[in-house]
């Protein structure tokens, strides 16, 4: 039997109720947004519940919406039930002043480097991560480059004339 979206909704609603902020049924993958403090509980439930069995973490990434006051920084988990070939997207959003998120490394070992990468680029503090340090950028870097307040271009470059580039 394949896991239907309705079944996933039913199970999650019964377990978490108000903990799930929103559902997005329209896109290709069922997407849920949950309260940030519940992220680990929801993921554990999805992982351990025998009839759900989302036991594979496909991707873990971050996002920054500067206009969403109070919920600027997001973490997105893609989980996959390999047996039934069903995917699910779980989102959480935290304020940029205090981007604390519980780590998923206890649940998925593969989350280790992905959380380090997300920390590297967005400065998300994964509470309980065994080795939270930069993984892709140079260690001396003192900012998180994919946050929107930082320009993409390297600021050490001096040969670019703004007038010539129409800026």
């Amino acid at each position: 039997m394949s896991i239907t979206r309705d079944y996933i909704k039913e199970k999650l609603n019964a377990q978490f109720g108000d903990g799930i902020i929103s559902w997005n049924d329209a896109s290709d993958i069922l997407t849920i947004e949950v309260k940030p403090e519940l992220n680990l509980k929801v993921l554990t439930f999805l992982h351990d519940e025998p009839t759900l069995g989302f036991q594979f973490l496909t991707d873990l990434t971050g996002i920054h919406f500067p206009d969403k006051t109070g919920a600027e920084i997001g973490v997105i988990y893609h989980v996959h039930n390999l047996k039934e070939n069903v995917r699910l997207r779980v989102k959480i959003f935290v304020p940029i002043q205090k981007p604390d998120v519980y780590t998923a490394t206890g649940l998925y070992s593969g989350a280790n480097w992905m959380e380090r990468e997300t920390f590297d680029f967005y400065g998300i503090n994964f509470i309980g991560h065994p080795n939270l340090k930069r993984v892709l950028n140079v260690d001396e870097m003192d900012y998180h480059p994919l946050r929107k307040e930082f320009p993409l271009e390297d600021q050490t470059r001096i040969d670019k004339d703004d007038e010539m580039f129409g800026r």
Binding site: N137, E153, T156, R157
Partner: protein, 195 residues
């Protein structure tokens, strides 16, 4: 049956085909002796036996492979011996995008080379960061090591790389033997934090 083999028995005239022999340095010549300055002899020897150290990270490295191949043949300029140990090499050829994380590696390779050493930045990325004007890419290797010749292009054709090598040869030929001991050179290295 005769084999389809042809032997070219007609000698060719190379004089008008732009093939140069190395000119003799200025000096006095007599019966059985030739005097010139030490600078010129050393320059001549060095410039025609450069050992390049390829530091190839991307597409410019592919062009360098073509340059070393039989068609373009860098060996014609005495540089066929590509050394992969920095301690034996004279010319560091940095070809390709150097990420900021790679910067210390380039520097380390440069430090391991023995004097006299030259550096050539091949391609837009090594020279200036190129199109990768972004937080993760070093905006030109001259931020970490002093560069002698920049070869423009994205990637430069093998002819351009050969032209760069010839420019390096000119530099080597004209370099004073005292240059590496001069205050100016020491100051240059100091600006890069190299003792």
């Amino acid at each position: 049956m005769a084999r389809p083999v042809r032997f070219n028995v007609n000698p060719q005239d190379f004089t008008d085909r732009g093939i140069n022999e190395i000119e003799m340095p200025e000096g006095h010549m007599g019966e059985g002796f030739f005097t010139t300055s030490f600078d010129k002899v050393v320059g001549l020897a060095r410039k025609n036996s450069i050992w390049p150290l390829p530091f190839a990270t991307s597409c410019c490295g592919i062009e360098f492979m073509a340059t070393m191949g039989s068609h373009y043949d860098l060996a014609r300029f005495g540089s066929e011996r590509v050394g992969f140990s920095p301690r034996q090499c004279d010319l560091l050829m940095v070809m390709g995008t150097i990420a900021k994380k790679m910067g210390p590696v380039v520097r380390q390779v440069y430090l391991q080379m023995a004097e006299p050493r030259w550096v050539m930045a091949v391609g837009a990325c090594a020279s200036s960061g190129g199109i990768f004007d972004t937080y993760s890419v070093l905006q030109g290797i001259d931020q970490v090591v002093p560069v002698d010749v920049y070869v423009p292009g994205c990637p430069p054709r093998p002819e351009a790389i050969i032209d760069g090598v010839l420019k390096i040869q000119d530099l080597i030929h004209d370099e004073s033997l005292r240059r590496r001991h001069s205050d100016q050179y020491k100051h240059l290295l100091e600006t890069y934090g190299i003792q």
